[in-house]
Assembly symmetry: C2
Homo-oligomer: 308 residues x 2
């Protein structure tokens, strides 16, 4: 049954994860040719795990504009391919050097570094291939718009730029002398690029697919903006307070790296209340949509109460 | 003056390189924000070097269908961004581990590994961003088709798959027992994926931009197929006979890695004559276009006589 029939967030998220995973499985390459090792690595790192929040945002925003399930699932798959590629590359020894991801060995531990680099590269290409195909939307202008927006969100002015900032932040030691306000500004910008851009794409993809009027797209972008920030603050909180077993990855990484985070700057208490405020603010942007946006409103609550 | 006014290949190639480089420079990010290091690495590795053969193929095929210079130059830039990204990632220590590229330190030597991985990732995203923008072509169906074809050519069923095969070939030792015919089949397939797919995209991009009739697009694909193979055979020859100073990179890499190449299987003499035959065959596919295809015909000759 389609996502629009769900009234509660958690079953809706589970449905979105399962349906998107099935679509991803169909879209991912498989075969037994010589290069199949890279297909396996792509499947290993993109299937069988993750909350699929980004996929949920695509599907939930698509229900607001009566977009077909197939269109929404293909776009949800594309964004999850980009997300998976970014995790593979971020986990590499030259980057964050993480051995575990989603409770299993990270891609370069399971395969090797070269295969991990290639699997990430191919997942990025696959995302754009999927968006550009006619099955994603009958109107090629919509497909071109999706490609443009995802490329912007994923590239140097989005996710990759944010990851660069993040790596540089680890190697800089001048944070202690920054005024707190400056640090908050810098870290907010980092987050907006590193994770916010993809979350914004996820939340506005339904509006692009549904050719929504500009004010509705802007409302979804505002929701995504506040929600993305809340999401990152909670990520920082979980890095301090979370359970490595539940998270499926190591904690205390930021503190060990001496990295400024929302928690190191604001403290646990203020960080927690700031995340809560942002989640409420995010939900408030959805007023124009009324009841059909209930799932997205609940998602904002989930983002700040999640434990992994 | 536009490419169509050139009669001789070498000045035409120089023009294509210069005009594409100017376009790439405009399209690449610049700025002085915190993440500018990745902008610099993108510029370092994509500007100021390379023959720009792929760009030439786009521009030359576009002149056959009276495509605007702006459209062709943007597509040429996109393909050169993908080519540059692939070289950055191929040069990484975990892959081919090359310290030099186009006569200067490779990206990870000039910057660092993390920055090189990110610069490659961002260049790939930039290629699709450029293709999807309205300035590339007024018809969104053409833009979506370009994105789809480039994504296929660059991904797991194209360039990335070929690089995977290439890496696995280095670590396998069973080549000596293969029959020569099998080896030639395997190595031809590897080449078709690793370099052939992008060359095919370059040669057929003009037909996509010009909405050419199917038989003309097929003729260009056939040209690209034979020319791509000739190109790779000459690459193998240059790895044995070439001058490292002229090439701007180390030679004898394949022999040192114990890798099967067209030269190791066919011998110098037969490899050289095979490349020549393929170049003639490539040019023959261009008969339907008559005189306007002269530059592409000359390009086939250049590919087999080039010294770098």
């Amino acid at each position: 049954m389609p996502l629009s029939t769900y009234r509660q967030f958690e079953p809706a998220l589970a449905y979105a994860a399962e349906a998107t995973e099935r679509t991803m499985d169909r879209l991912l390459p498989r075969g037994d040719t010589g290069e199949a090792r890279v297909f396996e690595a792509m499947r290993y790192s993109s299937l069988g795990g993750g909350k699929r929040l980004r996929a949920f945002f695509v599907l939930a925003s698509a229900t607001l504009f009566k977009v077909s399930a197939m269109s929404a699932l293909r776009v949800a798959s594309a964004i999850e391919f980009v997300h998976a590629y970014s995790l593979i590359h971020d986990d590499l020894p030259a980057m964050d050097d993480d051995d575990m991801r989603r409770g299993k060995p990270s891609c370069h531990k399971q395969f090797d570094e070269a295969t991990a680099i290639l699997a990430g590269d191919a997942l990025q290409a696959l995302a754009f291939e999927v968006l550009a195909q006619e099955a994603t939307h009958g109107d090629p202008a919509v497909r071109a718009a999706l490609v443009f927006e995802l490329a912007r969100a994923a590239g140097a002015h989005g996710m990759v730029g944010g990851q660069m900032l993040d790596l540089l932040a680890e190697t800089r030691s001048d944070q202690s002398v920054d005024a707190i306000d400056q640090s908050i500004g810098a870290i907010t910008r980092l987050q907006r690029l590193k994770t916010g851009a993809l979350i914004s794409f996820s939340c506005t993809a339904g509006a692009i697919l549904g050719k929504a009027a500009e004010p509705l797209r802007v409302a979804l972008a505002a929701y995504a903006h506040d929600l993305g920030l809340a999401f990152q603050i909670v990520d920082d909180l979980l890095d301090v307070e979370g359970d490595p077993a539940e998270l499926g990855k190591a904690t205390q990484k930021d503190a060990d790296a001496g990295k400024a985070t929302f928690v190191s700057i604001l403290g646990l208490e203020r960080a927690r209340s700031q995340a809560g405020l942002l989640a409420q603010q995010a939900a408030a942007h959805l007023e124009p949509f009324g009841a059909p946006a209930d799932l997205l409103k609940q998602a904002a609550g989930f983002v700040v109460t999640r434990r992994s």
